[in-house]
């Protein structure tokens, strides 16, 4: 996406560097000053937590941020669009979604009654796939899957970039996964309880999530069992707006096993899939999705990756992240998606202070 301002990327060292003596100059603050103002006008991070701007309008009011001039003809087209979307598409999609969710609950409960056997597993897969497909139709989803030969195998871990709760449905449309997540209440909870009877999904209680070792242990046990379906994890931990990939939490990469990276890129022209959870709750979000034109996306299955000798979890996570970003055409950001809600750590500021100090005082002496 285009930027507003020209960012001056000269590193601190070059801009403040001096040829001979190390000392302080009043102009040193100019560097920090300008960087501060650049960040105020436009920063890399906060823009990722709001929807991507479109180059040309797609007739949805919600994306009409910068296009103000609307002629009469365009307005008429837009009104027709609204009628089509709200009066025709929405009820259709809602019905389909209701059918899909009901079948999921009923189907998995029934399959769950069977004793554990290969028949049960087969039926469970059928139910999950069918309901997933109904739900994708309910969103008018058009998905292109690339490189199907790299599809995640049993006993592996599938990692993907996260844009919306429907990411999971996009992937389960084409294969069966063991979902990982927190137990919710309400309708979601009903679905979770029903599906876990048919197929060993990994649902955690809220209290269990806090215990990282417990989480890792349970996932490790699941992965060790090669007959179990691959786990689906979104290591960013939160929804990002699909223009970049933020820091991957290392926890998923400490479990071991083979990682199957998947890149998901939505086409924003047909509908904005990003869930801005601070702005919209899940119901408004689903309503917006169901009144968009369609959900069009590309899914790339990538060759499996394993942790190399001497590579730690963080490096491995970064390596996988780069691969996904490159494949999906997304930028990579070293920032933590948690910054959506939490404050940034002081360590970054301390690092800048340290670097500046080095220029003032070298080898402990003042030049």
């Amino acid at each position: 996406s285009q930027g507003i301002i020209e960012r001056d990327e000269t590193p601190m060292e070059k801009e403040i560097a001096r040829l001979h003596r190390e000392h302080f100059e009043f102009s040193d603050i100019f560097y920090f000053c300008r960087k501060g103002f650049e960040a105020i006008v436009e920063d890399e991070v906060t823009q990722r937590f709001s929807s991507e701007e479109l180059v040309s309008w797609n007739l949805l009011t919600r994306t009409n941020v910068n296009f103000h001039y609307i002629s009469l003809r365009l307005t008429i087209v837009w009104v027709i669009g609204v009628i089509v979307r709200y009066c025709f598409l929405l009820p259709l999609r809602f019905t389909l979604a209701a059918i899909g969710i009901t079948s999921m609950i009923v189907g998995t409960t029934m399959v769950g009654q069977l004793p554990n056997s290969s028949v049960k597993n087969y039926l469970s897969e059928v139910v999950h796939l069918t309901c997933s497909r109904i739900l994708v139709r309910a969103l008018s989803g058009t998905i292109h899957y690339h490189n199907k030969e790299n599809k995640p195998q049993k006993g592996g871990i599938c990692v993907a970039n996260h844009t919306s709760p429907i990411d999971a449905v996009i992937l389960t449309n084409d294969g069966c996964y063991a979902m990982v997540g927190q137990v919710h209440g309400g309708l979601m909870g009903v679905i979770q309880r029903a599906t876990v009877k048919a197929c060993p999904h990994v649902w955690f209680e809220r209290s269990e999530i806090k215990d990282r070792h417990l989480v890792t242990k349970r996932l490790r046990e699941h992965v060790a069992d090669k007959s179990k379906l691959p786990i689906l994890i979104f290591p960013e931990g939160t929804c990002i707006n699909n223009t970049s990939v933020m820091m991957f939490k290392k926890g998923s990469f400490e479990i071991g096993g083979t990682i199957y990276p998947v890149a998901i890129k939505y086409d924003p022209q047909f509908g904005d899939a990003f869930w801005n959870s601070s702005k919209y709750n899940i119901v408004s979000y689903l309503l917006r999705i169901m009144t968009s034109w369609a959900i069009v996306c590309n899914v790339w299955y990538m060759p499996p990756m394993v942790r190399k000798e001497g590579e730690d979890a963080v490096q491995f996570a970064n390596r996988v992240r780069s691969a996904i970003a490159r494949q999906g055409g997304l930028t990579e950001l070293p920032w933590d998606g948690g910054l959506k809600r939490a404050k940034v750590k002081d360590t970054f500021k301390e690092e800048q202070q340290k670097n500046y100090s080095k220029m003032l005082v070298r080898n402990g002496s003042i030049g």
């Binding site: 301002i5 100019f30 560097y31 650049e38 105020i40």
Partner: protein, 173 residues
């Protein structure tokens, strides 16, 4: 500033305004991670808020940002009789001077200089060393011997620095 630039800045202003009340508070600025990790972040944020106030509206926002307009922009509207534009070299320097001069007495005292230095180096330099650095800096710039830097002395020290380039932000369109 062109119409589209103002629109974009207004868009930015509203996206920062989480309370949606048409003004920005200090917390709204601190939510920007790149600004929060800037050693001078707090001082920069303060520059937006007039004396004793906790909210800044869009007008105030633009006014402060105007200091960073590139000087070339002024060539188009040369108005000899009007007030000096906010982004003149002199006003840019004045802006920087005010970042140092916290008590607004038009002088940068040793303490004020030490405060800014301390913000920029964090815990990495001892008080004594920092004190020496401050002393030497003042000594070099101080011309009237009052152990403080006035605005005129400040300007003199920076006369060879390309202030226009360092304190400007260019729009892409």
């Amino acid at each position: 500033v062109s119409h589209s630039q103002i629109t974009r800045l207004y868009s930015r202003f509203t996206s920062l305004d989480k309370g949606e009340n048409g003004t920005l508070s200090r917390e709204d600025f601190q939510r920007i991670p790149e600004l929060a990790i800037n050693p001078l972040g707090d001082r920069i944020i303060n520059a937006f808020f007039p004396e004793g106030e906790d909210q800044v509206n869009f007008r105030g926002f633009m006014r402060t940002l105007a200091h960073f307009r590139p000087i070339e922009d002024n060539e188009k509207n040369k108005d000899q009789n009007g007030p000096e534009p906010l982004n003149s070299r002199s006003n840019k320097l004045h802006f920087a001077f005010r970042l140092y001069d916290l008590d607004k007495d038009d002088k940068i005292s040793r303490d004020e200089l030490l405060q800014v230095l301390r913000m920029m180096v964090g815990v990495n330099i001892s008080d004594e060393q920092l004190g020496s650095i401050a002393d030497r800096t003042i000594q070099e710039a101080d011309q009237d011997g009052d152990s403080a830097i006035s605005f005129a002395e400040f300007v003199k020290v920076l006369e060879k620095v390309d202030v226009e380039q360092k304190m400007s932000i260019r729009f892409l369109h």
